[in-house]
């Protein structure tokens, strides 16, 4: 008897969402409590799963496979490897924090209804589902379905006049990508049927023995592109990134946390899981174009971030830069690059998630303004808020000792071993990151305190509870990243085997005479 952990983790928030939707309209407080309780139970379930995950065991664990549409080989099939697991843990951790942060936001929001909380729960179910899916069709369905709650979270419950425009832009962008992906998904089925067994089960499709192994080169490249463009829009990658700043600028900060912290990771996760493993030959063929786009994203995103006057948009652009590092690491096709990229997804969730939450706390203190020019000298009135903002900001610029450094460092090392020039170009992003973060800090927190901010309160207990767990994991996994890497590494090794790539050997190697250093490698 095995417990269907993943189904539980998906069904529970979905059920919770339904319950919250059924709670009478005026009992918003109750809705909030139910939501928080539900997300905490999900966190507990996911936590238990993480503890029971065996890094040295099978690649996919907690698998459940049930036929869904037998005629087209569609299954309800879920299961996780180390990468999916860490992303699910990230989602389960972020959602309760977002709920906490949204607690008061709710009272000032354009629409005070409890619907926002029902949507958060629905989105949580879909996020966990999309990472857990091991059936290409199920993945696609959830990938598209996720748009619906987010569309309403921005369009209906967002901030400012432009929120409907932002929601529509988000939707159209995503749909465009989704449709391309649909083509590829259908193509995948067609080719698997041609190979004798029409199915969407990922484990049967991927790999040198898989059903897609026989797809001819040209078709594989087209199929790859269908997936890749969808994922590049989701990630988002230059030049299909412009929906993100608009969406993040009009979303509530809590929505932005989930949007950038988790949803965008579906894009990079999809590249690693689907683009690379289903179409290894095509993926290798596309390395250089993707590397170039990654470099453009890194540098361009950072430069545009520096020039932003709205802090939510600024953070969104920093993510464009960060996602460039993730795609660079993935397409470097080395273990350090890909483990670094997978870890980057998690760390970026912690770091940017916390940054959006803090931006939300700032905005709540300044009449809803996200304009950087409306701030100044806040450290005087709110030292704890300023200090937390700085720590989280430093994590965003990948300061060693904080978790994002480890992933960025690995991406650099992994890229340099095979693509030294792109790795060196990417280091420009390191300098620019210092500029956009520290300048943001300087403009908002230092200098003389603005008069209208004089009475501002420091972080409240609730706010501290929302952000402290993230700061704690940022420091913890900066100092001890190995527990996460131990889970991620085997999954990356599998991916590299499937793609048939391996790390290059050192050019010189350590002195043969001393021997010992090389012996354990």
């Amino acid at each position: 008897m095995t417990i269907p952990w993943l189904t539980l983790a998906i069904a529970l928030p979905a059920l919770g969402s339904l319950i919250v939707a059924l709670i009478p309209r005026e009992r918003v407080e109750l809705a909030k409590r139910v939501t928080l309780a539900c997300t905490l139970v999900v966190l507990a379930i996911v936590g238990a799963m993480a503890l029971n995950f065996d890094p040295s065991g099978d690649r996919l664990q907690f698998t459940e496979v049930h036929p869904w549409i037998a005629r087209f080989g569609v299954h309800y099939a879920v299961g996780v490897d180390g990468i999916a697991l860490t992303l699910i843990v990230l989602s389960a951790l972020l959602v309760p924090l977002v709920v906490l942060a949204a607690w008061k936001e709710q009272e000032e929001a354009a629409d005070r209804g409890k619907g926002y909380f029902a949507l958060i729960l629905l989105l949580e179910a879909m996020m966990i589902g999309v990472f857990a899916a091991i059936d290409v069709f199920l993945f696609y369905v959830l990938f598209e379905a996720m748009l619906i709650p987010v569309y309403f979270m921005i369009g209906r419950y967002g901030r400012g006049e432009d929120r409907r425009y932002a929601a529509m832009k988000f939707l159209l962008y995503s749909l465009a990508g989704g449709l391309l992906m649909l083509v590829s998904v259908i193509g995948v089925y067609a080719y698997s049927a041609q190979a004798g067994n029409g199915t969407f089960l990922w484990s049967e499709l991927a790999g040198p023995e898989g059903l897609l192994a026989g797809v001819d080169t040209g078709a594989a490249r087209w199929l790859f592109l269908g997936f890749f463009v969808a994922f590049a829009i989701k990630a988002p990658m230059w030049p299909v990134h412009t929906w993100l700043p608009t969406a993040a600028g009009s979303a509530r900060p809590g929505t932005a946390v989930l949007l950038v912290g988790v949803l965008d990771k579906v894009g990079t996760y999809g590249m690693l899981r689907y683009c690379l493993e289903l179409f290894p030959g095509a993926a290798k063929w596309f390395v250089w174009p993707v590397v170039v786009l990654s470099l453009v994203s890194i540098i361009y995103g950072a430069i545009v971030a520096i020039g932003q006057s709205d802090m939510l948009r600024l953070i969104a652009y920093t993510s464009v830069s960060h996602f460039g590092f993730i795609t660079l690491g993935i397409f470097a096709m080395t273990s350090q690059g890909q483990s670094g990229a997978a870890l980057y997804m998690v760390n970026h969730g912690f770091s940017t998630g916390a940054l959006f939450l803090l931006a939300g706390f700032l905005i709540a203190r300044n009449n809803g303004s996200a304009q950087i020019a409306d701030y100044g000298g806040l450290q005087k009135a709110a030292p704890v808020l300023a200090g937390t903002f700085l720590v989280v900001g430093l994590s965003s610029l990948a300061l060693p000792g904080l978790s994002p450094f480890v992933s960025e460092f690995l991406v650099f090392v992994g890229t340099f071993t095979v693509l030294p020039v792109p790795a060196i170009i990417a280091t420009i992003g390191v300098v620019l990151a210092a500029l956009y973060i520290l300048w943001l800090y300087q403009r908002t927190m230092t200098g003389p305190l603005r008069e209208k901010l004089a009475g501002v309160k420091d972080l409240s207990g609730r706010e501290l509870w929302a952000v402290a767990p993230l700061v704690a994991v940022i420091i913890l996994f900066g100092v001890f990243p190995q527990p996460l890497l131990n889970v991620i590494n085997p999954a990356v090794e599998h991916t590299m085997q499937q793609v048939d790539v391996s790390d290059p050997a050192p050019a010189v190697g350590v002195d043969q005479a001393s021997g010992q250093e090389g012996a354990d490698e």
Binding site: L171, L172, P239, T242, F405
Partner: protein, 648 residues
């Protein structure tokens, strides 16, 4: 990880086998814990926080002394001990252990950092007494000590980088400690940014080392250097130098150091004079085997050192802000060390010896300057000082000893160690050796001038004080650390240099001294005599110009050299013209391109789609419907495309 064979004269390293050394990580953990308690404890720790910080720094110092004792108990060739703490990052063959390397070089630094660090902690109790954020200040100081120890105790480049960035953070936090002052906030950011440029060098060198050797641990890398070829090692060397330039404020990444004086003076003493800014020198000396395999890189190191030596001295001659004048001096003195480090094994010990004595006398000078500022309502303009020697006798005496030490009065600390560098420069031979040697001699004269200028403007001549100035001697909690540093400034040089005590101690790491210690030679060599003569000339000229009652309170216009020196040799103007303004333009252009170009295309497409769909839906409005329409449109595309694929 341990017990690799010695190669090229470098001692093998063994694992710690119990005892004090096995717990060397405590040196780092104690101040780190102190910082954590103070930062997380909040206001509750206000009353006793600074004492906790001092206790943490002092216990770290005690542990360093005990470790030194245990190290000295071993045979010289066994004085390299690896302490494995835990595995930090491992992916594939990229395997980074958080391991510490306890050897004579790292212990020399550990003692300097914790020793001088503790003194400056104590001094800060008095200096920061009236600051409402004193607790936070001490937390940052503790954080700095911990990070600096990580930097020097690391046994590989990745962990060194961890410490390297850690001290950068501490420096950022402390330069910008008075965050309400915009100048401080800007200076902090500037320091961090310029350092980041240098960090790129270190970062890329780590990648290059891993790609080449499959490891970034010091000993295995150093032992394999021969197999890698000169070009590669030159690249690594130059990249490391870039890192060193950032951290140690050497040309062309020097522009942040003078602005860093916005930080509280104890910070200037500890971080921006005695310890952190010398990390670049440490990096070069530690990476000796790499540089020795790359003569071109070594030459560039000496050129950078020589140029900064002169540039810093020239800037120091013209600044009226006492801290900035001292900061120019720091640049210049680190230039001496960098130059020596670039000379290879004959210069390493000299560089480190000067680094240690400089740590004492420059920290003492800064604490003295802080004491003066404390007495003068935080006035930093030396033209507003004058005649302070009678009012502040202890400060005058301790500052005076530091002054005599730095200008190289024979038998005081600075003389011993600066002579070592002058000698090493000439000994390196050839025309290069001659040029470098004469630069160091000329530097001695300049040092004497600018330091005398500071000394005379501050303590001699007429009182040019502001109306409300009421100077007084500082309390004992400040003067006692100054006295201890003054004792070090006077005597430490002799202790370290006579019989090459320090050089012999460092020998397992940097190689044995080239020749026997010879005091008579030191005293009678034409170069040291030349340095002595130039020093006297420098002092005399400064005496004529500044130790009288004709010093104007507002600075005279000065000739073009003075103006250039005041403008820090246009370092800031160059950075602004070359990077800042073009950068701003690039940013503006890119933002515009993103808003109108990239996004414009997308919205353009969207608009035409919308126009098309408007024709389709005619009577219908609302977003849910447009969603459905888009789906329909999409489905049509899919069907068509699938057909296309199937046909192909």
């Amino acid at each position: 990880m341990t017990s690799t064979l010695a190669a090229g004269g470098y001692a093998a390293t063994t694992a710690a086998d119990g005892g004090v050394l096995s717990y060397a990580w405590l040196m780092i953990a104690l101040p780190l814990l102190g910082a954590a308690v103070l930062l997380l404890g909040g206001k509750r720790t206000n009353a006793w926080g600074h004492w906790l910080a001092i206790a943490a720094a002092l216990s770290s110092f005690v542990w360093a002394v005990l470790s030194l004792g245990q190290l000295l108990g071993r045979a010289p060739e066994e004085r390299s001990v690896t302490v494995h703490v835990y595995q930090w990052i491992k992916v594939g063959t990229f395997d980074i252990d958080l391991s510490l390397l306890i050897d004579p070089l790292s212990m020399t630094f550990a003692l300097l950092i914790t020793g001088v660090g503790s003194l400056i902690h104590i001094y800060s109790v008095g200096y920061m007494a009236h600051d409402e954020n004193r607790r936070r200040f001490f937390a940052y100081l503790n954080l700095f000590v911990a990070a600096m120890l990580v930097l020097v105790l690391a046994d590989n480049y990745a962990v060194l980088f961890l410490g390297w960035e850690g001290v950068g953070l501490a420096s950022y936090l402390l330069i910008g400690f008075w965050q309400h002052k915009p100048a401080a906030a800007v200076a902090a950011k500037k320091a961090f940014l310029i350092n980041r440029v240098g960090d790129i060098g270190l970062l890329v060198s780590i990648m290059l080392l891993f790609t080449t050797f499959g490891t970034v641990t010091f000993h295995p890398v150093f032992e394999s250097v021969d197999g890698a070829g000169r070009g590669l090692m030159t690249a690594v060397g130059l990249l490391l130098l870039l890192g060193a330039c950032g951290k140690s404020a050497q040309l062309p990444l020097q522009a942040w150091l003078l602005d860093a004086m916005e930080g509280p003076t104890p910070v200037s003493a500890l971080i921006h004079a005695a310890t952190m800014v010398t990390a670049g020198v440490y990096l070069i000396v530690r990476s000796g085997p790499i540089f020795e395999a790359a003569p071109t890189a070594q030459l560039v190191v000496t050129i950078v050192g020589a140029a900064t030596l002169l540039a810093g001295a020239i800037i120091g001659c013209a600044k009226d802000d006492i801290k900035k004048a001292l900061a120019g001096s720091t640049m210049s003195q680190i230039g001496y060390m960098t130059l020596a480090a670039g000379l290879g094994p004959i210069g390493y010990a000299a560089a480190i010896a000067h680094l240690v004595t400089h740590g004492f006398f420059k920290a003492g000078l800064f604490l003295g300057a802080g004491s003066v500022m404390h007495a003068m309502n935080d006035e930093v303009d030396m033209r507003r000082y004058g005649g302070l020697r009678t009012v502040m006798p202890v400060t005058f005496a301790t500052f005076g000893v530091g002054y005599l030490a730095i200008i190289g009065v024979p038998f005081l600390s600075g003389w011993w160690t600066k002579e070592g560098i002058i000698q090493a420069a000439f000994d390196s031979g050839g025309l290069t050796g001659q040029i470098l040697g004469w630069v160091t001699v000329l530097g001695a004269g300049l040092t004497a001038f600018y330091m005398s200028r500071i000394m005379f403007l501050t303590f001699f001549g007429t009182k040019r004080w502001a109306k409300d100035a009421n100077p007084h001697e500082s309390p004992a909690v400040m003067t006692v650390p100054m006295i201890i540093l003054a004792i070090g400034s006077a005597a430490l040089g002799a202790v370290l240099v006579v019989n090459y005590t320090l050089a012999n101690f460092l020998a397992p790491v940097v190689g044995a001294p080239a020749h026997e210690f010879d005091l008579v030679h030191m005293l009678t060599s034409p170069y040291s005599l030349a340095a002595l003569v130039l020093m006297i000339v420098g002092v005399a000229y400064a005496w004529v110009r500044y130790a009288n009652d004709k010093v104007p309170v507002t600075a005279p216009k000065g000739n073009f050299i003075t103006v250039a020196a005041r403008e820090e040799l246009y370092g800031n103007a160059i950075n602004e013209g070359l990077f800042m303004r073009p950068g701003q333009q690039l940013t503006r252009a890119t933002v515009a391109f993103d808003d109108h170009g990239v996004d414009g295309v997308v919205t353009g497409i969207a608009r035409s789609v919308r126009a098309a769909s408007e024709n389709l839906r005619l009577t219908q409005t609302g977003f849910a419907r447009s969603y459905a329409l888009t789906m329909l449109f999409g489905a049509a595309v899919v069907v068509v495309t699938t057909l296309g694929v199937n046909l192909a």
